[in-house]
Symmetry: C2
Subunit: 254 residues, 2 copies
Amino acid sequence: MATGRTHRPATRSRGIPEATVARLPLYLRALTALSERSVPTVSSEELAAAAGVNSAKLRKDFSYLGSYGTRGVGYDVEYLVYQISRELGLTQDWPVVIVGIGNLGAALANYGGFASRGFRIAALIDADPALTGKPVAGIPVQHADELERIIRDNGVSIGVISTPAGAAQPVCDRLVAAGVTSILNFAPTVLTVPDGVDVRKVDLSIELQILAFHEQRKAGEETVGEGALPRTAAGRDESADQGPDGDMPAVMQA
Amino acid sequence: MATGRTHRPATRSRGIPEATVARLPLYLRALTALSERSVPTVSSEELAAAAGVNSAKLRKDFSYLGSYGTRGVGYDVEYLVYQISRELGLTQDWPVVIVGIGNLGAALANYGGFASRGFRIAALIDADPALTGKPVAGIPVQHADELERIIRDNGVSIGVISTPAGAAQPVCDRLVAAGVTSILNFAPTVLTVPDGVDVRKVDLSIELQILAFHEQRKAGEETVGEGALPRTAAGRDESADQGPDGDMPAVMQA
DNA sequence: CCATCTTTGTGCACGCGTTCACAAAGACAT
DNA sequence: ATGTCTTTGTGAACGCGTGCACAAAGATGG
């Protein structure tokens, strides 16, 4: 989902369906928890419950990786942790840059989950000179001018964009030009990237709107059918607090 | 995607496919931008480009809402903005509580996108007494003890969880018990909720892992086939920096 | 009023993902 | 060694989502 513009022959390469890939981290998390409790083996039923999925789906997912289970017993936890980690590419170190150190960027920098799973913050970058040198999460923020050099020097291939919406596409272009081929975008904009570059989007505003839709459905059955619609270029008068910020102001950086 | 445990007859009620619902906010954003530039009408082709989707898909999506276009001309921007807003339930005001005011919770509280689209932060809640009363984004943090009262007094039906992973399920249970029926979960845990409650999950760690997978695929074709696998309960020795935090430490609250 | 041109709305086919249900595989007891 | 019992791995059916391609609708110009 949300792969920028690519026609995505991406995963087809060696089989594993995209939907399965998206669930592997879920399984990995559940397995890691079991591993910490020193549980030696786990059945597809148990693991599926822990990961919140159907057991048949889990078995089919694992079947794409190979036959790692033992019939009548289940899966070896440690071994499976290793296999999934390897499949996801988590056995190697991924240097990551975060561009846009506002509220959200800082929160991301402080996120423990980064370091814990093969991801290492190579640099924090922001266009605001006032931030340059200031440490966030123990890492000094560097100026945007340094972006290309940082990418190249550290061999960064994954970039996180947490800038305001307006800055996202330019930043994206620079990241790609400098060699980044995977982007995690928190800015509320559609990014256009060349083929071969993966983009994943995290958009809080959209998630909330989807929830609102379902919420309305649940609560709505009563208020429904409020007569005909205005039909003549309606709305936009009520809730005058729309503000001058237009659409999505973005979490981050003021 | 990521609907807690429900068998989801959710959207079936009146037709609109889930995939379409997920795209409506995207269209709305693009339309709002056009509206600000006072563009009167837009074709499916143009709007689709702006939203980053296929034009046929966009037309089909809109067809679920009704026939709001004019052949030979396109769609009336203002009218469509209103229709989609109404369909998403954005013409009404949704009070929202954020539970867990750590790094991420604070970033979310400062997020402009909240207020701009029918969402209003009714309260910020945290279990840490040291935070109680301290203003974040201009709103004083309230103690978790007040949670049930706040939910009921404000008629809150949407809750955002940005606590550490361990606190998420208990918080979720309390929210649901108090009347919340939609939850946006930022904590890296699978939440279990009763039927009728919607859960959407935003998990940064998972997004990164999916990117890493594709990245490995792209770069990998060379390093592939590194002989046989250890097979005997491999890994876990290298990268000793795994830390004692186990899996997902969660962004938020220290 | 008619012809032409643009753009919508949708029938249809295809492919992916999910789920069921079961045979094969192996552990374990006797 | 043999039978029973558990659990995996997967063939097959189904349903949803996507994209093509085109007919219908309406605007626009003569």
